[in-house]
């Protein structure tokens, strides 16, 4: 088949991209949540993924992480197909994600929450060693003071950081942060973005799924815009955010005032 041929020929000339989607499509009932999405992300990139509500951002994350199977198309990690694999195998293969709505293990301590990631995907089999690693990661994200509390007792901002620490414990090659910044105040946002920058500095490839454009502009050199399940634009962030099609799709022509959480147009220019 031709895809196999093109695989072979491309690997001769250069390494395959870290993550690649080829025509990924996912339908829910009559709605195309992802419509023929093709995209590649190179090793070490920090890419923003934006789009209005219902654009397919979370479906994108779910398809890549294996929680949802694509109806058509392929997902490749370093040139190897991962679509159709069980989600836990994809996780062990080096793809980590956080959830837009935080998903802690509520009655486990923060340490144990993080230790799970280290133990089952991070290659540290021994519970005691995993807890040790978890303690260091909790200190890295600034949660050492609450490390023994059950996750359910943490504030929302702390639970977001906990999600972050859990995904880092997996030692991922590719990390998708699904609106880790939503609901944070300005100071919390600053520290969250600094964490993202520090993680990017360690060489982990990051996809930052965002609603707030100013976050993308600060953190991501490259931005992909999803709209109605399709890739509407993909390129350097400054250019993308100035693109009139993106502005229209994102804000709508009239109902900009009714959308909380999205900044006014002057901020886009």
């Amino acid at each position: 088949m031709t895809p196999a041929l093109s695989d072979a020929s491309s690997t001769v000339f250069r390494d395959p991209p870290l993550l690649e989607l080829r025509g990924a499509t996912r339908r829910f009932g009559g709605i195309l949540a992802l419509n023929d999405v093709s995209l590649s992300i190179g090793k070490g990139e920090v890419v923003g993924l934006i789009g209005p509500n219902g654009a397919g951002k979370t479906t994108f994350v779910n398809v890549v992480s294996g929680l949802v199977r694509p109806d058509a198309g392929q997902v490749l990690l370093e040139g190897r197909r991962i679509d159709g694999l069980p989600a836990d195998r994809i996780a062990r293969g080096g793809i980590a994600r956080t959830f837009q709505v935080v998903q802690p293990f509520p009655r486990m301590s923060a340490i144990d929450n993080v230790a799970v990631g280290a133990m089952f995907a991070g290659g540290i089999g021994d519970p005691a060693a995993a807890r040790h690693e978890a303690r260091e990661l909790l200190a890295f994200v600034g949660l050492e003071s609450v490390q023994d509390r059950p996750a359910a007792a943490l504030t929302l901002a702390d639970r977001k950081r906990l999600e972050f620490a859990k995904s880092l414990a997996m030692k991922p090659r590719f990390l998708m942060l699904d609106e880790v910044n939503a609901g944070l105040n300005a100071a919390e946002l600053d520290s969250a973005l600094e964490l993202v920058a520090r993680v990017a500095g360690t060489g982990i490839t990051i996809l930052l799924i965002e609603h707030l454009m100013k976050v993308v502009r600060r953190a991501c050199p490259r931005t992909v815009v999803l709209h109605q399940g399709r890739v509407l634009a993909d390129g350097p962030t400054a250019e993308i955010l100035a693109d009139p099609r993106v502005v229209d799709a994102y804000l709508g022509v009239r109902d900009r005032a009714r959308r909380p959480g999205i900044e006014p147009r002057r901020d886009l220019a």
Binding site: S65, G66, L67, P86, A87, D88, R89, A91, R92, A96, R97, F99, Q103, P104, F105, P106, R107, M108, D112, A115, V116, G117, M119, F120, A121, G122, G125, P127, A152, K166, M170
Partner: protein, 320 residues
């Protein structure tokens, strides 16, 4: 510390019961102690799948019954020695659990409960109809051991006691290890567990198989103990329900909970039997309802002051 202390206490309690039963030489006390060991084994095993993993299994009767039949057929039909037949009961139950794991462990919550409940019914009908193997509704009579009646009673106590101790020890090891971690993740948030690389399917299958071993062995030993089984007795649905009540009584998802719960349940059962012969099952049912409503975490969570205030305790929240 808590992880170490409670199993130690349970062990001491078990030893005390054993000493009491054998030293007293009283047939009634010995029978009670034997039943206690049976209950501890069943409740502690159920707790691995039902408590640690949070999958409400009603398959205990199926494991117990198929173990009882495997042991009985091997002894009565093929003349296999009792200890070997007892072990085979556990192996056959584990094989059933492994097969069952592939079929029903993708179901969650009520669906899993109902699917697991049906298994014992199906097996009961098989035991009723496969007359060439099981003698159907006539049941199977087992060969008696060639030792005295009192020695037999004492022997069965020690065998049940050993299996109970092993199942508590297994639960303790699971709780401390990687599998326990994986099962707690499954119980608290299965989707998040998958995303963190936990092979939830394998963990759940392991839990179900582990929870079937002791019931299978105990079923086979029970058959020898009472020396006769029939389909109704071996696959009695109460065998599935009682271990759940015990775990609820003592504290679901803890190592020591089912041990204390089994003791508390046995005490209540004896009390109800003696005083409410006609109504004792109704009284047990009422107990279950009260437990689920007011004490979802078990009697270890009872605080006298809270009892006076008469407010339901906070349920341990489950995320979908």
């Amino acid at each position: 510390m808590r992880g170490l202390l409670l199993p130690l206490l349970s062990g001491v309690a078990l030893l005390a019961a054993a000493a009491f039963a054998t030293l007293a030489g009283d047939a009634y006390a010995l029978r009670l102690a034997t039943t206690l060991c049976l209950y501890i084994g069943l409740a502690s095993s159920w707790n691995v799948i039902g408590g640690f993993a949070g999958y409400p299994s009603f398959a205990t009767a199926a494991f117990f019954g198929i173990g009882a039949y495997a042991g009985s057929v091997l002894q009565a039909g093929y003349g296999v020695a009792a200890p070997l037949a007892w072990l085979s009961g556990g192996i056959v139950a584990a094989l059933l659990a492994a097969g069952l794991g592939y079929c029903i462990l993708h179901l969650r919550g009520h669906y899993f409960a109902i699917a697991s409940l049906v298994v014992a019914d199906v097996l009961r009908e098989v035991a009723n109809s496969w007359i060439s193997l099981t003698n159907g509704g006539m049941g199977i009579s087992l060969p008696l051991l060639s030792i005295g009646v009192e020695d037999q009673a004492r022997l069965y106590f020690w065998v049940f006691g050993a299996v109970a101790a092993l199942s508590v020890a297994a639960a303790w090891l699971v709780d401390r290890g990687r599998l326990g971690f994986a099962l707690r993740c499954v119980e608290q948030n299965e989707t998040a567990a998958l995303m963190l690389g936990v092979d939830t399917r394998r963990a759940k299958r392991a839990a179900l198989v582990l929870s079937s071993l002791a019931p299978g062995i105990m079923g086979a030993v029970y058959a020898s103990w009472v020396s006769y089984i029939d389909p109704t007795d071996a696959f009695d649905v109460l065998l599935s329900v009682k271990p759940i009540i015990m775990a609820l009584l003592g504290g679901v998802g803890t190592v020591a909970g089912p041990v204390f719960g089994a003791a508390a349940f046995l005490a209540l059962e004896e009390l109800f039997w003696r005083n409410l012969l006609e109504l004792h099952e109704g009284a047990l049912g009422l107990l279950v309802v009260l437990l689920v409503l007011f004490l979802p975490g078990g009697i270890r969570l009872v605080r006298p002051r809270r009892l006076l205030a008469f407010r339901p305790l906070a349920k341990p929240g489950r995320t979908p």
